[in-house]
Amino acid sequence: MTAAAPTMLPVVNEMGEADRRALRSARIRGAVIAALGLLCFGAASGTMDVNATFSFWLVTQGGEAFTVATSVGVLWILAGVASGVIGLTQLWKGPAFPWRRSLVILVPLYIAAIVAALLNGKVANMTNVFAGTLEYAVPVSLGAFAGILSERSGMLNIAIEGKFLIGACAAAISASIALTITGNAGLALAVGVCTAMLAGVMVGFLLAWLGIKHKVDQIIAGVVVNIGAIGITNFLFLRVLGKNTWLNTPPTIDRIKLPILSEIPVIGPVLFSGTPYLYFTLAFMLFLTYMLFRTRWGLRLRASGEKPSAAGTVGIDVIRIRYRSMIMAGAIAGLAGSYLSLASAGSFQMGMSAGKGFIALAAVIFGAWNPIGAFGAALVFGFSDAIQSLLSILGVDVPPQLLNSVPYIVTIIVVAGVVGRVRGPAAAGQPYDQG
């Protein structure tokens, strides 16, 4: 950088091109946010007397409800005030202002106001919305963890969608077979999950083998796996499962309510009475974060992804790490697939992943290749999906296709770096030549 200037604010004629661009975009951002605030006040003036009621199940679904009632206008005012404050602060502080953190306040306020305005007086059960958010977020974040594992080690993993499908199909079929043979639901479920993970492992190994040994372009290999997965699962569904429905009736996984924690009002029914997958996801998120950033294993993995040549010089076996991470990623993705068929839908349906594998990739980028960030991103996507269900259930007159498009459009916005450009592992996708 240039000679360190002791002042906080950059002196304009000493700034480089990048600094000038940063200052300009900061100013634009501040102005836009402040202007949005003014719009909010405008919206507030017309809606002061429209009700906005949000209800939460207190302890059990269908039991007592706890409601928060305000008016839509109030929500707009809140959003407007927040926008004004944040926008002006951004203008004043310049590029140094951590505006991304302010989104945590801004976005929920705006969403609350917009949703309330759309609902136009109807009561919205937020517990269901949050529970739906988590349900959507589980497979997406598991897929994102798989993506993080592989990409951090230097392998591009486009095939998460395919692994979802294969895992879902394998889980459904094997669990059904196990159920028919043994009659034990718990065992059947275990068999289903393990088969799904095994299938994911095999696919991950195939991808690693193609990409490392044969230096096949990893994107092409990923696309191939996705096509193959769609083809073979559709084929199996139509040819085998259509006629032999006993092969597609796995036992369903019940939700597990954690003893004391699920009694916590409002939060309990949402967070602590989910499927085992939810708990695993949360636990794995913490575990993966710890492993990636606090252990030697994680350091070696990240080195393989950032600068494999340097890692190789120090004696790290980059090839082996990449194989292993792809295999692990495959297992996790297969697990996520089993969630789709065993917990979410109860059986295997054609194309049931509906693009969640690609949304998982977006969550990886959105979350800056960090498990916790990816989980947060998955929550955002899940929330938009849940809101769409809520609005359509309550009969709000918004075309469903528009709402259906939201996760995809949000993904594009995220990937295009509107929320800021994040840098991925530098060597991702480049084959490594162990010299």
Binding site: I158, L210, H214, K215, V216, D217, I219, I220, A221, V223, V224, V225, N226, I227, G228, I230, G231, I232, N234, F235, L236, L238, R239, V240, K243, N244, G355, F358, L361, A362, I365, P399, Q401, L402, N404, S405, Y408, I409, T411, I412, V415, A416, G417, V418, R421, G429, Q430, P431
Partner: protein
């Protein structure tokens, strides 16, 4: 002799790939033939023989469905009855009809590959092009037919080009990975089509299904043969012409050279003074335009109206095509004919033996895998589609 070798050499690997893929597919057919396998414990050899026989029956249906029934062809020779002739040539014309959109979409993918961009969004660009053509026809229906046809196709192409422009622009300006943006835009396009088809302007009156008003009564791409139930239209001929044009553009023009240079090495191209961002955007726009062109012809020539399952997986087929053909336009035509044959024949196969079409999708994936593995070992890794063989690539 050398000339012959030049043509055959690049075809060996793809041919072997197709063969190997079919072998694996046959195994799958065998092991999922559950009714047959049930008799395995009692009569193993009989089961295997029966299984092989079933597979043979399936492939026979595939070939007949794609190219024609010999008995019907015999009857047609020398006959003057249009119905008999139609029955004889129906399979092969259906194959050509199925191949037409594949040629367009395959070219779209190939030109993007050659420029170093992965256009996975061909499916979305295809249906957006079809939508554009549909809207044009319904909005401008009072124009004389030839003008309306050209205008509709033109608008469809532009719509597809715009849909391809978006991810290209995003990649050039923000570095957004085009694989994700194009795939997302596919889903958005599908939703847009659904939305449009439910609107009163487009929807067929009195029907809740997402189908548009019938377009073929207003205008349609002219048919080549005036025989009953023969659908082959001039879109096929146009597709062949476009393939030649694309080949000329890529290999014989400066702009095409710039695109290929960007595909080989973006940094070197930029160093040589070519605009890297411009190449990406141009490639994606052309690619989208080609896909949109295909969509326009599909809705105006083959389908006759816009439905929400118009494309039915063309996108991924196109990628398979382009890879199989080594991103060569002429190879794409051949590969498109092959895939068209598979689709048409597969339909008959499904009817006769109950084996779902999706097996062929799986076989296609295997084909790509077999092609991609040894070939790409030879080439420089990353975005290079194929090293220049000895002589001109055709």
């Amino acid at each position: 002799m050398k000339r012959l070798r030049r043509i055959i050499r690049p075809a060996i690997v793809p041919a072997l790939a197709v063969l190997s893929a079919f072998l694996v597919g046959s195994v799958f057919m065998f092991i999922t033939d559950i009714e047959n396998l049930k008799s395995f414990p009692q009569d193993p050899t009989g089961t295997i023989v029966a299984g092989v026989f079933n597979i043979g029956e399936a492939y026979y249906a595939l070939i007949i469905g794609a190219f024609g029934d010999p008995s019907k062809i015999f009857a047609a020779i020398g006959s003057n009855d249009p119905k008999v002739i139609a029955a004889a040539i129906r399979p092969i014309t259906e194959t050509l009809v199925a191949a037409t959109p594949l040629i367009f979409t395959g070219l779209a993918v190939a030109i993007a590959f050659r420029s170093g961009v992965f256009n996975i969004g061909v499916e979305g660009q295809f249906i957006m092009g079809a939508m554009g053509a549909t809207v044009a026809v319904l909005a401008l229906r009072d124009l004389p037919s030839p003008v309306l046809l050209v205008a509709a196709i033109g608008l469809g192409t532009l719509t597809g080009a715009a849909w391809g422009f978006i991810p290209g622009f995003l990649k050039a300006r923000t570095g957004a990975h085009e694989v994700i943006t194009t795939i997302m835009l596919n889903y958005v396009a599908a939703q847009l089509v659904l939305f449009g088809l439910r609107s009163d302007f487009l929807r067929q009156p009195g029907n809740d299904a997402p189908i548009s008003k019938v377009l073929s009564t207003i205008v349609r791409v002219p048919l080549i043969f005036d025989l009953p139930a023969i659908r082959l239209h001039y879109g096929f001929i146009i597709a062949l012409i476009v393939a030649v044009l694309v080949s000329w553009f890529i290999f014989k023009t400066t702009k095409g050279f710039e695109l290929r240079a960007a595909g080989f090495n973006l940094h070197a191209a930029r160093y040589a003074g070519m605009s890297a961002g411009g190449s990406i955007i141009l490639a994606m726009a052309i690619s989208g335009g080609l896909a949109g062109l295909g969509g326009s012809f599909e809705v105006l020539g083959t389908a006759g109206q816009m439905t929400n399952d118009l494309s039915a997986g063309f996108g991924f087929n196109a990628i398979a095509l382009a890879l199989l053909a080594g991103n060569r336009p002429m190879g794409i035509v051949i590969a498109a004919l092959l895939f068209g044959a598979l689709r048409t024949g597969g339909g008959l196969m499904q009817v006769k033996t109950g084996i779902p079409l999706d097996l062929l999708v799986f076989i296609q994936a295997l084909v790509i895998m077999f092609v991609a593995a040894p070939v790409l070992v030879r080439s420089i890794y990353r975005m290079n589609p194929r090293p220049l063989d000895e002589g001109s690539p055709v």
